[in-house]
Structures are given as C-alpha cells and as structure tokens.
Symmetry: C2
Amino acid sequence: MVKPRKTPSQLLHVSPVPLYTQIKEILRDRILDGSYQAHEQMPSESELMSTFGVSRITVRQALGDLQKEGLIFKIHGKGTYVSKPKAFQNIAELQGFGEAMSSMGYETFSRVVSIKSMPAGATVGARLNAADSEEIVELRRVRYLNRAPISLDVTYVPKSIGERLAKEDLAHRDIFLILENDYGIALGAAELQIESMLADDYLARQLKVEEGAPVLRIERLTLTADGRPIDFEYLYYRGDAFQYRMRIERSHV
Amino acid sequence: MVKPRKTPSQLLHVSPVPLYTQIKEILRDRILDGSYQAHEQMPSESELMSTFGVSRITVRQALGDLQKEGLIFKIHGKGTYVSKPKAFQNIAELQGFGEAMSSMGYETFSRVVSIKSMPAGATVGARLNAADSEEIVELRRVRYLNRAPISLDVTYVPKSIGERLAKEDLAHRDIFLILENDYGIALGAAELQIESMLADDYLARQLKVEEGAPVLRIERLTLTADGRPIDFEYLYYRGDAFQYRMRIERSHV
DNA sequence: CGTCATTACTCGTCATAACAAGTTCTGGAG
DNA sequence: CTCCAGAACTTGTTATGACGAGTAATGACG
C-alpha cells in the first residue's frame, strides 16, 4: 500500500525541539483538555505513526514520557489508555514553595528575617558535605500565603552561593528558580524528612500561632543533578493551615 | 533479505528476561559493589555495546532505567557518570509500612483493632468513587515497631475487597502486598496529604502518648495502575517516634 | 454448546544505520 | 606562546525493519 508521504502539518521539522517532545505535548494537551477521555483507549502506536508521520521509536518515546508523568498507562497486548483526570498530576516533582503555590493560583511572598554567615557546625556540615568550621550562609524567611504567615524556612547554602543570593529579590523569587535560571545549576533530587512537632516560643511568634500548636517540620536536602548537596533547609509549616500534598508512583521496575 | 539469527555470547538469549534488564542488573551490581565509584565516568555507550555484544538501543534502555532509578546521570557530549552512593536510593516509591520497614531491617507487626462494614459517607465515598450509601469496609490497625506502637491506620476499601482482606493475616502482611501478589491488582500511584495535628483522647490511648502530643496525619489514596481508587487511609503517626522520609526527583521534562 | 486453534490486533524487545549536538583535545596559524 | 579550527570523542534523536508476547475475536471441531 502506498502511503502518501505527506509532511505532517503540525510538526516543525526544523525546530530545535525534538519531534517526540512536540508529539508528547500535543498528546498531553489532548488528554488535559478532554479530547481523550480518562480510561479511554488512545490511538495505537501504528496509528500515531501515520498521523504524525514519524517512526515508531519516536512515538514510543513520547508515550513513554507521558507514562512516566502518569498521564497514560499501557497494557501489553491491549493498548494504551488515559489515566484518571488531572487533579493532582505530577506533584511528586521537586518544586519550590512559591513555584508550587503560584502554579495553583495563589499569591505568595516571603519576608527575609535574617541572612548571616556562620560556621557550618556538625549537623549542617554533614549534610552539605562541608567541614564543621567552613563558613556557610544561613537564611531565614517567613513565607506568606494570602497575607497569612504559613511557614518559616531556615536555609543553609555554601558561602559562595549565599553571597550571591543575598543580592537577589528573595521576597518574590524562589531559590530553586534562581539557582536554575540565573546560576545555571541543574537540580536533581531532594531528600525529605517529615515529622510533627509543637511550636516553641520562637516559632509561635514567627508563625503567629499559639505556643504548643502543631507544626509540620520538614528537613530537606536538595542535590544538584550530579548529586552534590547544595541547599539544606528546615521548613516549619503551620499544621492548621497547610497540607503537604504529593503523589508517589509505585516502582515500575 | 533473510537475516541469519546469530546469538551474541555472554548473555542469555533464551531467557525470558530482556537483554536490557540483564545489562541493567549487571551495571547496577557494579555500581553498588563499588566497581564503578561515585562520580566516576562509566564506560561509554559504544564500549558497552561491544562488551555486551548488543545494539545501542539496548544499552540506552538499560542506562535510561538506571538513570530513572537515580544511580547514574548523563551529560550530553561528555559521558555517563555514577551518582552519589546509596543511602536513600528510591524512597519515592509507593511502599507499604511493613514493606518499607522490613527492607530497612526492622521487625513490625500490626494489631487489628476493628473491622466493620459501614456506609461510605460523603468524604470516603468521594475518595473511593462510591455512593454515600454504598457499603464499604473500615479496617483499624495499630502498627508496632520494636514492640512500641507507632501508628494508627484507618483503612477504607470497597466491600468486595474488604471481605476478602478480613480473612487474611493482616497482623503480619501488608495490604499492598496482598492486593498485588494474592489478588493480582496492580497498584499505580498514591496521593498523599500530610499535616500536623495534636493527639486527641482516642489517638493518645491507641498510640500510648499524652493527649496533645504532636501527631503526623497522613491521608493516602492509593490507585490501581489504571487509575481506579482502591484504598483510602488515614495514617496517624507518633510525631516523636517517626519521620516520614522520601526522595523527590526534579521533573526532567 | 463448549473447547481449541487460528488470526489479527496490541505493545515489548532488539538490530542496524545515520546524523545532530555538546565536549575535549590537538595541531596549526598567527 | 596564544588562539582558534577541526578532529575525535561523547550522548541525543530518528528511521526502518524484524520478531516476540499478550489479548481478543473468530470459526472449526468435537
């Protein structure tokens, strides 16, 4: 059967954006805007090949990425299906606080309480992979959501980074985004520990809650893409006003 | 053109295990046992092709999987490198409590407090996608770690599943593993909400803490691989004895 | 009517091939 | 010696082709 090799209209072949990325985004849009309903079967790989005019490898790469995002799932021998609607989609991403909130439509800002240089000490030094006596920068901020204080962030970064950060607009910009966009540091993963505690005097004042109120304490170590620790934080969230939400994938190993 | 089907040497081609999986496991072993040191450059793709006698596609699939696991990372134009050692590796997986603890060498068991059938009600019904009046099963368990109570789990599942679960050895087996291994239900992802609260009278008695002690409250909805909600839980963890740890990847989109 | 083999579909795996794009080293021009 | 072009590496993207394996519908057979 002769297939007319028509140039797939929608796709830009000269673009610096890979084909599979373009296809992935077209399909993601169709899923999110409801063109493909949840639990519906998606077009098969061979259909997608001909409609987009690309090879199967390219189609599979696009579908594989969407599967990693949790938008679709496959059943061997049957087909590819759309997962449940949006709601929570990709919350298991590493995001800064402002990044996460603004993507949900909330307005936030931070108040910088203090910035100071100090020796790392044993605990922080161990996390940031620095000697106890090495100078690092401690940065304390209170995060506000709709004018109400919601968390106290105590951030430790290496001196070189901290001195640059001190000059930035920390009230309105996420540290994560500054590191990535301005400093060109690719972030990899974060390790979290979450526990519950009671507000002490200092926390109560900063978060405008009663002493003894429940507080969510998160210890977060952020790593660069090549695994170097770069940012160690203690985050104290008001227990009454905030819920830490995420989505975790079962390992597909 | 007929292609002679020649068999490359070292790997098992008759095995039901895909080549890329075999290669992935060989490489993972070498990383974990230190043959490839952290931050060291791994053999290039072409080297791996010739040493294993496979095509580049196969090598890339193995490396891609290892990258998803966080064991290696790649730099375009430079090469493939080993990430930081183990420590935390793959904690962002969906695991049951016992599953997670026993993989860390702890002994756990559960005490079943109650199992009862009841109408779903608005909150639970919405989560499990059931009518308010539909009968579901509520299961209360206290989890013990080294003989100390550490959490109260309140689990809601559809009646059909709950009635089967009631006959199982819930004291020593994770619900997740029963669902997957015995019932053949593939689990997909879980959505979590974490918040901090104070122990009330009932919780304090169950967890053997003082009333007003900090408690980590986790709301967890577990979905099957095809996105159907199947298990909704409230988990109340003792704030003094437990830390919820995880590792989150920055989106590689 | 129930069972089973066939068949036609799906996704899963793997080979070969080519070019693009980023990095590093080298050698020659100035 | 310095600087810059290019070679020689790396990973990234894409095409074409083939076979395997799981699922489902079909139809023949008992």
